[in-house]
């Protein structure tokens, strides 16, 4: 990056390299473009959903270097050099990973809008804590809102997944 004394311009295009779902990707973005919009618009990874765009709903949650992050509160330029994982990276196209399978079997979701954010947050939880208690599951999911299910079926799905597949989907 250039040093002090340079002229700054708000509409310059910045080139970024990052890894998305294991694949190296190149982007040319305005600084103001969020990671969520970069994933959806530039990489056509529209599985990452945008609800509130200010960090409250959790629909846009992705993993950045293994940690859950709000992609609406991260600029694409901040992800330079990072490893990003999205819902599309959980299992090969057309198949379900063990976490997804468990959630499917437990009717965890209804409309599906919140689903990608929940699945990424749960993936992070199970990676750190492969056999969480129900209280730990609920604590980890406080930052993800679902307007359909009432959460019971989601928690049930996670409990099933943690029994079935330690380490997560």
């Amino acid at each position: 990056m250039s040093g002090a004394g340079d002229t700054i311009s708000a509409d310059e295009i910045i080139t970024i390299e990052l890894t998305v779902n294991g694949t190296p990707r190149l982007g040319h973005v305005e600084a103001r473009k969020t990671l969520a919009d970069f994933l959806r618009e530039d990489l056509a990874l529209t599985g990452t959903h945008l609800g509130c765009e200010h960090g409250v709903c959790g629909a846009c949650t992705v993993l950045v270097d293994g940690e859950p992050a709000r992609s609406c509160l991260m600029l694409a330029v901040q992800a330079r050099g990072c490893e990003v994982r999205t819902i599309e990276g959980l299992a090969p196209e057309g198949t379900l990973g063990p976490l997804q399978q468990a959630m499917w079997e437990n009717h965890s979701f209804q409309c599906g809008f919140c689903t990608p954010g929940f699945l990424m947050q749960i993936t992070a939880l199970l990676a750190e804590n492969p056999a969480p208690s129900e209280a730990e599951v609920r604590e980890a999911l406080t930052g993800n809102l679902c307007r359909c299910t009432g959460y019971q079926s989601i928690v049930r799905g996670v409990m099933a997944a943690s029994g079935a597949a330690p380490g997560g989907g």
Partner: protein, 302 residues
Amino acid sequence: MKPPPFAYRAPESLGEALSMLAEHGDDAKVLAGGQSLVPLLNLRLARPALLVDLARVPGLAGVDQRAGGLALGAMARERTLERSELVRRLAPLLSAALPFIGHPAIRSRGTLGGSLAHADPAAEIPAVAAALDAEMVVVSAGRGERTVAAKDFFSGYLSTALEPDEILTEVRIPPFPSGMGVSFMEVARRHGDFAMVGVAAAVRLEAGYIAEARLALTGVADAPVRAVDAERSLLGAAPDAASFAGAAQAVAQRLAPRSDLHGSAEYRREVAGTLVRRALAAASGRAAAHNLQGDLEEGAIP
């Protein structure tokens, strides 16, 4: 909504970052974890011309023991501190408060320095910094380094002693007396929301009486409140319900919290008193347990 246009730099040294701030002054903003700043950009409540991202400046995210206390880099992430065994040992009050901040995905990006610099009146970390007498190390290109005590750092609603050309680099937490019991409690509308009222308490007992007490509150004023009078009133007192109720009353009487959508001033004052009472009781209980543990280890109790 989407952020307005701005320029972005990610300097790779502190010197470079400082000269950018010196050059662009009020037009520039430091970007740390972005968990407070990016929402403001998305809502277009902030319109900086330049963002100076500190993520690539080396040496700003350390979590180190120094002189018996802690030296914490401003860019240390809240989640990293929450997981740190060293922090649990040397600043247990901070460890107790961190899980109350937002949600895991917020804490995995949000930083210690960002929370202190943003100084939300309902944030947890500023109250902990006040209770622990933390010192903020602040650097600028023109004036070099200075150290600001927590009691001088928070100057009002969302405002601190930081000048636009300054960067908060480190937070120093003095050695924490052994045998201190701690407690952090808060009431929020929903789990993970900013506190309506939060209380940080620490108590040390000697021979069954209170030898030291720390008490700080968040959410009840424009800046964190350190309840020094109540602390003093507890010295030498028995750690019992009457002492805690007295302290709670002393705190509540002096508060003039805001009323807002989430709760009236009267409600906040009531909750503050209740939480002070409960947090002091919990901290005292833990202090008593520490002392018992210490006695056992020293063989004083066979």
